[in-house]
Subunit: 217 residues, 2 copies
């Protein structure tokens, strides 16, 4: 694996991004062991940055580290998945509620741009890109809340749930996904500064996402 020149600030960051890429593209399977040397050799770095990346992923719940034993990719149960969405709902609803009262014009534009990019990824049927810009939509809202800590927590939970989509929705049908329409509605509610509507729409949106994960594929 050739490391692009200077695309990442540190090797640890490179390994982290690359591991996430491999998770999203299903090159890694839930429960799979992730030996440090293994990854280090594959990515052309030493074990040190690999360790760091693994621990970062562990803090996002994507990797399970057992002391003196090793790391393996998480294999969340349905229960854990539901639990995660329960937390996500809390955090994102408060997030969008605050954002509704104070979102800037600039962030409203960023939201619209994000939706445009979602549509592009949708047309291209590029799942990885789609997940990325989808994540971005939610990130912008968390950001617009002006609450840094909240945004940090949302960031963490987005990392988890995005992986879950890949883990448990192997035939995830990007064609039928109604997320974009829901995103448009949320963006509109934010534009109108309609707090109640924005919160209700977000709640509904997340409930449906979870439903999508639960439905048999």
């Amino acid at each position: 694996m050739i490391m692009e020149p200077r695309l990442y600030t540190t090797s640890a960051d490179y390994v982290y991004q690359e591991l996430r890429h491999r998770i999203i593209t299903k090159q890694l399977k839930p429960g799979q062991r992730l030996p440090e040397v293994n990854i280090a050799v594959q990515m052309g770095v030493s074990r040190t940055p690999v360790r760091e990346a693994l621990r970062r992923l562990a803090s996002e719940g994507l990797v399970l580290i057992i002391p003196n034993s090793g790391a393996r990719l998480a294999s969340p149960t349905r229960r854990e998945m539901e639990d995660t969405y329960a937390v996500r709902e809390q955090l994102e609803c408060i997030s969008v509620a605050i954002a509704a009262t104070r979102i800037s014009e600039r962030n409203l534009r960023r939201l619209e741009d994000a939706i445009l990019e979602e549509e592009k990824a949708f047309e291209e049927k590029n799942l990885e890109l789609y997940l990325e810009v989808n994540e971005n939509f939610h990130r912008i809202i968390a950001d617009a809340s002006g609450n840094r800590v909240l945004a940090e927590f949302v960031e963490n939970i987005l990392a988890r749930t995005n992986a879950y989509v890949v883990f448990y929705d192997p035939f995830y049908d990007i064609v039928d996904n109604p997320s974009i329409a829901q995103h448009k509605a949320i963006a509109q509610a934010l534009k109108e500064r309609d707090r109640e509507k924005a919160v209700d729409l977000m709640r509904e949106h997340l409930k449906l996402s979870l439903y999508d994960l639960n439905k048999p594929s």
Copy 2:
């Protein structure tokens, strides 16, 4: 610094605990630089476990790491503190709401034990111990929610807020602290399975905690 035999599973964990101890006991000041070698020499370990501990603290918002530059202890603004409490309120209120419907007898007893220990620390005027058992009270409730992810997030935010108490309430008067009475009321509401009351009490409790931090000392 002598490392007690086998009290910690790894050196990294030891350094992490020790750093937290030094934060709580005000041996470290907000904004202070935390050079790896420095800490490593003081604690009789190498830089590797120190790096790991620092990054863990960074994920809890207690340490700020600037790539290629170094780590320093966080110096949260009042705004950040309020933001943190806003998140904490969301997480702990949902936590106690769920706990009210399903808390086990065993966890109810653990809550009562925790309150007893709080009273003991209170009498001894042992701030560090008090913070620890106080944290424990909230941890048990998060645990009782049965939502592992939620408990994990609460754990993270407890680490933050406990440090804030030390950072911004230097003359924190443990004598006047009404927390224990509030904890008793919350435990009682949980015992009665009164969801509404438990949530209201928790919200009030956290609001007052934040107020305590804001009041001039």
